[in-house]
């Protein structure tokens, strides 16, 4: 990709026939293109650093690193499967809870609620996205965990608790994006169906939701990307036990959580390298998921 960079810089803005770029303009363009390049550089440096620092793990364990489940820093034995499992399960649980809730809320706010009420409620939902994750984690520890315990969960902390907290973190994304897509549904389509005598819900189900489908799927992928990488709220309530259990009430562990918990105290280079390797995998997975989200939203943009 870097070979494409050099010629493109000197090409500059679209030329107006007969115009020549002044020296000051040229300098200005070079300077700000340099600043723009910092993020490009950072992206490459990030990938390179993580690869370099995790190299010894890949050399020692190969791809088996991802498929074994012994995590024993003392014996320098590392397998990331419990973390992959915990991240996947807690994120999917979050989506399972948040998608119906978010889409439902968006439908209400677009199709039924009075405009003023919808604005106020939307404001509250958007602000929910601004709540720092450590605060949601705090709520999780002191409210959700005792509640889960009183409902019969043996520990209170666990996969399901993490999924619940994550659901509230991604709920604003799903609601906001779904609402934006629903607002773009052409009026004539809806009116045509009303003219046939359809009820409001039938219009939502027959016209609005199918029209918004790819946007909603995009929102789901975007939320998945957020949920996979979310650290604090999960670390605080998932239980931090590196084991694989089909019981959702049992404690688990996630990729982000193990990095957060162990990196600062990583005893050996091998331990550090294994944690960075988990970070690299996490980055790769979120890249793919976010790419899919962008693809869905791009397809939507092309259609409308």
């Amino acid at each position: 990709m870097s070979s494409a960079v050099a010629p493109a810089v000197s090409r500059g803005p679209a030329k107006v026939p007969g115009s020549r770029e002044r020296a000051g303009d040229r300098l200005f363009r070079l300077i700000i293109s340099g600043f723009a390049g910092i993020i490009l550089l950072a992206a490459f440096a990030l990938a390179w650093q993580l690869t370099r620092e995790s190299l010894s793990t890949w050399k020692t364990f190969g791809l088996g690193f991802l498929f074994t489940s012994t995590w024993d820093p003392v014996a320098d034995q590392f397998g990331a499967l419990p973390f992959l499992y915990g991240t996947a399960v807690s994120s999917l649980l979050a989506l399972l809870i948040a998608v119906p809730l978010g889409v439902g809320a968006a439908v209400f706010l677009t199709e039924l609620a009075p405009k003023r009420l919808a604005e106020v409620l939307m404001f509250a939902i958007e602000l929910l996205a601004a709540v720092p994750s450590v605060i949601l984690g705090l709520m999780g520890i002191f409210i959700l965990v005792p509640v889960m315990r009183s409902l019969g969960a043996p520990y209170g902390v666990g996969m399901l608790t993490a999924g619940l907290i994550l659901a509230f973190m991604v709920l604003p994304y799903i609601t906001t994006i779904t609402r934006e897509v629903l607002l773009t549904v052409p009026r004539p389509l809806k009116e045509a169906m009303y003219a046939l005598g359809a009820t409001r819900w039938e219009v939502v189900r027959g016209v609005s939701l199918p029209f918004a489908r790819s946007g909603i799927i995009g929102a789901v992928f975007l939320s998945l990307g957020r949920a996979l990488g979310e650290t604090m709220a999960v670390t605080m309530v998932i239980g931090n036990a590196p084991k694989i259990s089909a019981n959702l009430l049992e404690p688990g562990y996630s990729m982000a959580a193990v990095i957060a918990n162990e990196l600062a105290e990583a005893a050996s280079d091998a331990h550090l390298s294994a944690l960075v390797a988990i970070g690299l995998v996490l980055m790769g997975v979120t890249l793919v998921v976010n790419g899919a989200a962008r693809l869905m939203i791009y397809r939507l943009g092309k259609r409308s």
């Binding site: 200005f28 993020i39 490009l40 950072a42 990030l46 009820t199 990488g229 604090m232 970070g279």
Partner: protein
Amino acid sequence: MNEAHYARRKKINALMFTLTAICAAVASGTLLAILGYIAWKGASSLNWDFLIHLPKPVGEKGGGIVNSIVGSAKVVGLAGLMGIPVGVLGGVYLAEYGRGKYAFAVRYAADVMNGVPSIVVGLFAYALIVHPMKKFSALSGSVALAFIMIPIVLRNTEEFLRLVPGTIREAALALGVPRWKVTVLVIVPTAGRGILTGALLALARVAGETAPLIFTAFGNRFNDNGWLNPIATLPHTIYTYAISPYEDWHNQAWAAALILMAFVLLVNVTARVWLRPSSGTSH
């Protein structure tokens, strides 16, 4: 028969909309519940002494979190000093010259960096600064937060610059003003409010970030004057206090959460109110 069918459809309609109303109530009620609970729990431990004193030794009751407040201000401030100029200038580039392959690559990189989990950005800062220096530092925390800010500020700046009407640019260019001056003195100020708000929101966002600070800024129970030593930050202190076994620390975590939440909320509400009358441009 037909009557019954019609009644059933109406019933389904009412049922579904009741359900969606409940969804909306849950989604928007969560914020109120969080705010209310934090205000209630936090206010009881919050007082002036808490704000201006250092933490007491572990196990001793009382003490404050002044080091975390100062630390957060330092780390987030430095992150802003690094991240905002880079993001704004990069955004100006994308809006003004953003056509070629290079601009495409920059935009793509910004989207990628925006989607990278913050803990991975923290790993990056760790590998970049902490590991070579063999030391946790305020600087490394700021660098991590700056890398989180840049893509947000960059894309926001680009979006607001694109809202500036072409006629304004053409009017300035027609007067013979050099293009760079048009950009700096006309276009950017026109979108200034939007750009500034975006930068503020990005600051508020990273002020609540904890994950990338655990192994960069690391935390410290004292005040620290330098940039190259471990430093306490508000979100990290909330985290360590929350998972500690001490009742007193739990209460302090709630009070610290109240301070952090108040700051984040203040910035967000201000930004929205400020942007509402005109979305960066006047039309």
